[in-house]
Symmetry: C2
Subunit: 365 residues, 2 copies
């Protein structure tokens, strides 16, 4: 397996370092055939090469079986970089360039973390849901876009949200297939009462359910209602499928159930090629967190759990994925806590300390 590691900015290198340790553990102990390449991404490239995306990096992105991504620089830092250069070197270009349309964002409550959650235990107990966020269309990529000058000299900002039938279909189908391997239920989220593109989404999701997946439980839900239901009754959800922008907001809202974004992984997959292989991008949900970068205190579990998703989806090793997920649970159950998930008074481990705890749990499994 050719894995490209793009640790990126901020806390990216720290957390990715621990994820790579875990990958190497699987290479040494479980015969995972690993070819790791590491490359700079983001601000580091800008500082070293004056471009956010050297051609060689872009070629390696295209050629990798899987990418392990860390984090990308904050908006403020990015202000010094010309917009065109910013687009060329952006996470969004990578997502689009790889055509990884199916962004999976699981949110699974760990009993050990109930204390840190803002929600009551009666709400969080047993939460185990996953978003399939469409990642390569919608508001993020629609044209026309930009700021135009009106006849009276004032300006107007414009963004365009578009979805073709094909774009909706592949995301919704992915969600239904995923549901069959889980608890067999899909919630399709849109704003069909206001947006025509949402009404088309609803029509197509409904038709795919009826024609191809009648055995899977299914419901439509309006996006604003979904925001409420995620807070009131998140255990009712299994798989949620929605567009790029709603997926961004709602999956973060769902992530808040856990108490810290630092825990949350993601995987983004393309359609399979002729050999059945999907291009794949794995990244923790959290950002570059410049305020805590370099201090060795960031939570590496989002990145480590992204490795578990990589084992499942790119290496086709579901047992290893489960082993790693169990090891993370084990480390938490034994009390390992980075600062973001510690309760007042609890002892705290460093980024590498959490890596140690996971590796120890793997050794003891």
């Amino acid at each position: 397996m050719k894995i490209l590691v793009l640790a990126g900015d901020g806390v990216g290198p720290e957390v990715t370092g621990q994820a790579v340790r875990v990958l190497q553990w699987f290479a040494q102990n479980r015969n995972l055939d690993l070819r790791l390449t590491e490359r700079d991404f983001g601000m580091t490239n800008w500082q070293k090469h004056g471009t956010l995306m050297p051609d060689e990096t872009w070629e390696q992105i295209q050629a990798a079986d899987a990418i392990l991504f860390g984090a990308t620089g904050s908006l403020d830092q990015a202000a010094v970089i010309p917009p065109e250069e910013r687009r060329k070197g952006s996470l969004l270009r990578m997502r689009k360039g790889l055509d990884v349309f199916a962004n999976m964002r699981p949110v699974k409550m760990q009993p050990a973390l109930a204390e840190g959650s803002p929600y009551k235990p009666r709400v969080t107990e047993g939460v185990d849901l996953i978003f399939v966020r469409e990642l390569t269309a919608g508001m993020y990529f629609g044209t026309p876009r930009g700021v135009e000058t009106l006849p009276d000299g004032t300006r107007r900002g414009v963004n365009t949200h578009t979805y073709t039938e094909a774009e909706i279909r592949r995301a919704v189908r992915f969600a239904f297939e995923l549901a069959r391997s889980r608890r067999n239920h899909v919630t399709s989220v849109d704003k069909a009462n206001v947006m025509e593109a949402g009404a088309l989404w609803r029509e197509i999701a409904g038709a795919i359910h009826k024609e191809e997946f009648p055995d899977v439980g299914f419901e439509h839900m309006l996006a604003d209602n979904c925001a409420i239901q995620l807070a009131r009754n998140p255990t009712r959800f299994d798989v949620l499928v929605t567009d790029n922008l709603f997926g961004d907001l709602l999956s973060d809202a769902a992530g808040a159930i856990i108490g810290s974004l630092g825990m949350l992984p993601s995987a983004s997959l393309s359609a399979p090629d002729a050999q059945g292989r999907r291009r794949a991008l794995y990244e923790p949900i959290h950002g570059s967190a410049p305020d805590i970068a370099g201090k060795g205190i960031a939570n590496p579990l989002g990145s480590i759990l992204s490795v578990a998703m990589m084992l499942r989806w790119s290496a086709n090793r579901p047992e290893d994925a489960a082993l790693l997920e169990k090891a993370v649970e084990g480390a938490l159950a034994k009390g390992a806590r980075t600062a973001d998930i510690a309760s007042p008074g609890e002892a705290v481990v460093s980024t590498s300390g959490m890596g140690d705890a996971v590796i120890a749990a793997l050794e003891n499994a």
Copy 2:
């Protein structure tokens, strides 16, 4: 004060009925000069007149000093109505037609409701925030919009999100002015890292802060981060200002803090005319709730608290508004609970029983 009552569909008539009782109490006991007109809205018009919006109703909407709105029919019911007719008779047309761009959605925690909230008391205690949601532009009204057929015969859904400088400015200014009468802090929410229209929003909000309201505390926040902060730390917010679509989702997410949408009011205001008068639309946040309509169990407090906002913003009677808000708190403190806010085992009052409890609290004040 010329008030037009549009009770609408579902639970609209029940809850609005109690709000009207409260208005009449103020007419009888506090010299509120009231001219009430009631008109059908929504499905009832469709059934009686074959149109969702008789011309006469539209004229009365335009002429009213304030509108007290109930709820409008669900998506399913609306499926029988032709799209053009639906647009003509829609809540969105009313908002746009009245140009009520400033939609205020307060979320204030009542200690009596801590038990029913999905959040822990440490999160909800002291929550007192208000959204200013821009209500007449953005994704809801942008063109081009619709479903188009592509050259290959498949379809594509399109919606357009636009904001002019003027549209951003008036919403942001409204938020800053509101903050001065509260805790003096504004959070402006956008997705400037992805949307050009969001970057324009950010630029203008920042400039208005600097040039016109340097005394008010201010921050920018990305919409996905806002979804998280509303769950983790809602007491950090005072006034939030954002666009139409983000406002829809995020204000509902914030509403979930209270445990029931049934509690939540809203007010939507236009710019003042030459006489300083604003057109105004008052409506509870909850929808028509067809599943419980006609049973006399819906919570009227969202509508009653909308009357309090009417007393403050349209009648210029801040003391009466405060009196009514206190009466609602009093009724809750005395234990009045409709089903949506009752804890298991608690005695439940009907819609009119809650109205009784509020009137009793007013009498005793």
